[in-house]
């Protein structure tokens, strides 16, 4: 790109290749030349122009725009026809952004919006909860529209298919509990209490919590993704217009499967955790197997055990509700399915912790 100024005419010569052209120096000095001097006419010659792409169009466009603003005449009839057409197109499109004016919000308005969102969100959540309970009622009356196949499928998925991972994690947790406990108890020469520490810890709460976290990540996420994808594919719309209750058809089988399996998985997790503890007790602390076994059995307390199972039951409910809620309220594109999954898992874990707090306080009050 070369140019020279003669009197009040600027001759611009384009020759050679202009693929991804980027010669800032020349372009800047060219712009300056147009602005500084008393240029009245720009003549563009394109005799040697070979290959070019959109970058050249953009450069010429800004050049011509500048020239037009300064009432400089442009002689560009030597440019190849297609380049000229593109330039015309660049001038003819409307560059005003469509509508989307970013809303300027004051602090008060933001707080108000935030409040409204919370109220609307929680009323939506409560309505969902209410509908799920209604579905349960209908299930008991036998009038719920639920396919047994869906229920069995969910049962399989969150039941025995989850056993390996639950076993592994619970074993590890039992191991860790015992190990950390042993280090402290050794100071007092009370290693023998490791057995009861692990047993009480697992049965009362850790079994349920670990199972809950695993199932939230595994099953809760899959519920949100499955139902969210159905929303994207208009399947939920189809259900609604068929007059089939979404909470009967989609939520009920999943929720009942989880409520049934979670207590069982929790029990299994308790057991595996105790095995993990025993592993540490027997191999590292040299407690004889027989003794460790007896101590563990002694430490099992029915109310602790039942409180643990109750946690499992509540967590099953929480995970199912969170997974299904975010699935049903998923947006209509692929992005929102990912978002729904994340939200479902996070919400499930948060609500599990909240429920644990509530149950613990209740137990305290009831003296369990």
């Amino acid at each position: 790109m070369k140019y020279k100024v003669e009197k009040n005419i600027l001759h611009l010569e384009l020759s050679g290749n202009y693929l991804e052209y980027a010669d800032d120096k020349t372009i800047t000095s060219l712009y300056l030349a147009i602005q500084d001097k008393a240029v009245k006419v720009i003549e563009i010659s394109a005799a040697g122009l070979q290959k070019w792409d959109s970058t050249l169009v953009v450069i010429l466009f800004s050049l011509e725009k500048l020239a037009r603003d300064r009432h400089i005449q442009i002689k560009d009839n030597q440019l190849p026809l297609n380049l000229k057409q593109l330039l015309e197109l660049a001038f003819s499109v409307n560059r005003n952004p469509v509508l989307k004016v970013p809303k300027q919000q004051g602090l008060l308005e933001k707080i108000g919006d935030w409040g409204i969102n919370i109220v609307q969100g929680s009323s939506k959540g409560f309505y969902f909860l209410y509908e799920s309970f209604c579905s349960f009622g209908r299930l008991l009356k036998g009038s719920a529209v639920m396919r047994p196949v869906d229920f069995l499928f969910s049962l399989e998925d969150c039941g025995y298919k989850a056993i390996p991972i639950v076993s592994l994690i619970s074993f590890m947790v039992g191991l860790i509990l015992a190990f950390v406990g042993a280090v402290q108890l050794k100071v007092f020469g009370a290693e023998i209490y490791v057995a009861s520490l692990v047993t009480i810890g697992m049965t009362r709460i850790m079994g349920a919590i670990m199972t809950g976290v695993i199932i939230a990540g595994r099953t809760g996420a899959s519920y949100a993704a499955t139902i969210g994808t159905m929303q994207v594919n208009e399947e939920i719309d189809a259900l609604k217009t068929m007059g089939i209750s979404v909470s009967d058809f989609l939520v009920l089988p999943r929720m009942s499967a989880l409520i049934l399996t979670m207590p069982l998985l929790t029990m299994w997790s308790d057991f595996m955790g105790m095995i993990g503890g025993a592993f540490v007790g027997i191999t590292m602390l040299d407690i004889p197997f027989q003794r460790y076994f007896e101590l563990s059995i002694e430490a099992i307390n029915l109310s602790n055990f039942l409180v643990g199972i109750f946690h499992g039951f509540v967590f099953g409910f929480v995970i199912a509700i969170c997974g299904c809620y975010y699935g049903v309220n998923c947006g209509r594109n692929a992005d929102s399915v990912g978002l729904a999954t994340t939200k479902a898992v996070v919400a499930a874990i948060v609500w599990m912790i909240v429920m644990t707090g509530i149950i613990t306080i209740l137990c305290e009050v009831l003296g369990i």
């Binding site: 529209v145 869906d150 499928f153 994808t229 159905m230 594919n233 208009e234 399947e235 719309d237 189809a238 609604k240 217009t241 068929m242 007059g243 089939i244």
Partner: protein
């Protein structure tokens, strides 16, 4: 011949939140009409369909179906009206975890007391009607896009609805399949007297099947053309309609 009104739309305003898409619409869809809802991309055709099928609450106004107010109906009344509607979604919206037979059987199980054998018979019949005989045990993921649409149609027709809505039936279909679908639509309309409402911008289909239509315009948020599409082409009410119906190729003199 005086036609009976099937769907009456009164002072309808459609939008999302503060955002108004279409304002104060009035039109009537008669029994056994093939009614086309057309308009440029993004003008709110799909939203209109969502209002007509009860999936979206209008901001103002009412949709009246067979003399009953659909918009302001109770759950039970709405259920009774819904039973008369069949909807073919843009993607078919088949339930992916069920076979085609189970998909089509679902509304039958929901609304009828037929025995299993009768339901199976009906399912086969409906599948044959859309040219999918023998595909009962296939899952939606195992058939092509065009077949999904036809299967979706079979499901929409399961309960012999009085009104069938179509959202862009020919989108994503090759010209021949699209023509066959048009033919199928006309057959259903002729043989069962079903009222048909189609959202589309496929000009060939519009002229081939439509006998009444509205043209929605996003700029003015209103109806810019109302009548038989062929008549609209002959006597276009305004430039926008003419341009749309001639693909903007010819200038109106």
């Amino acid at each position: 011949m005086i036609k009976e009104k099937q769907i009456e739309v009164k002072n309808l305003t459609i939008g999302y939140g503060d955002f108004v898409l279409l304002e104060n619409l009035n039109f009537v869809i008669n029994k056994s009409d093939v009614f086309i809802i057309m308009g440029g991309s993004g003008c709110g055709k799909s939203s209109m369909l969502r209002v007509l099928t009860g999936l979206l609450e209008p901001q103002k106004g009412n949709v009246i179906i067979d003399g009953k107010n659909f918009t302001k109906s109770t759950t039970i009344e709405r259920g009774a009206i819904m039973r008369k509607l069949g909807i073919l979604y843009q993607s078919g919206a088949l339930f992916s975890s069920m076979t085609l037979a189970e998909n089509i059987a679902l509304p039958l199980q929901q609304y009828t007391k037929y025995s299993l054998r009768e339901i199976n018979e009906l399912v086969s019949l409906k599948l044959a009607l859309v040219g999918l005989a023998g595909f009962e045990e296939f899952y939606p993921s195992e058939i092509s896009g065009g077949m999904k649409k036809r299967a979706g149609l079979a499901r929409a027709l399961a309960l012999d609805p009085e009104i069938v809505y179509f959202d862009e039936p020919s989108a994503g279909l090759d010209p021949i399949s699209s023509h066959l679908l048009d033919k199928l639509i006309l057959d259903i309309n002729h043989s069962l007297g079903t009222t048909i409402v189609i959202v589309t911008h496929e000009l060939a289909s519009i002229f081939a099947v439509g006998n009444n239509s509205i043209f929605l315009d996003g700029e003015t948020k209103s109806i810019q053309g109302y009548g038989n599409p062929k008549e609209l082409l002959k006597n276009p009410p305004n430039e926008k309609v003419y341009k749309f119906l001639t693909r903007g190729e010819k200038e109106h003199e």
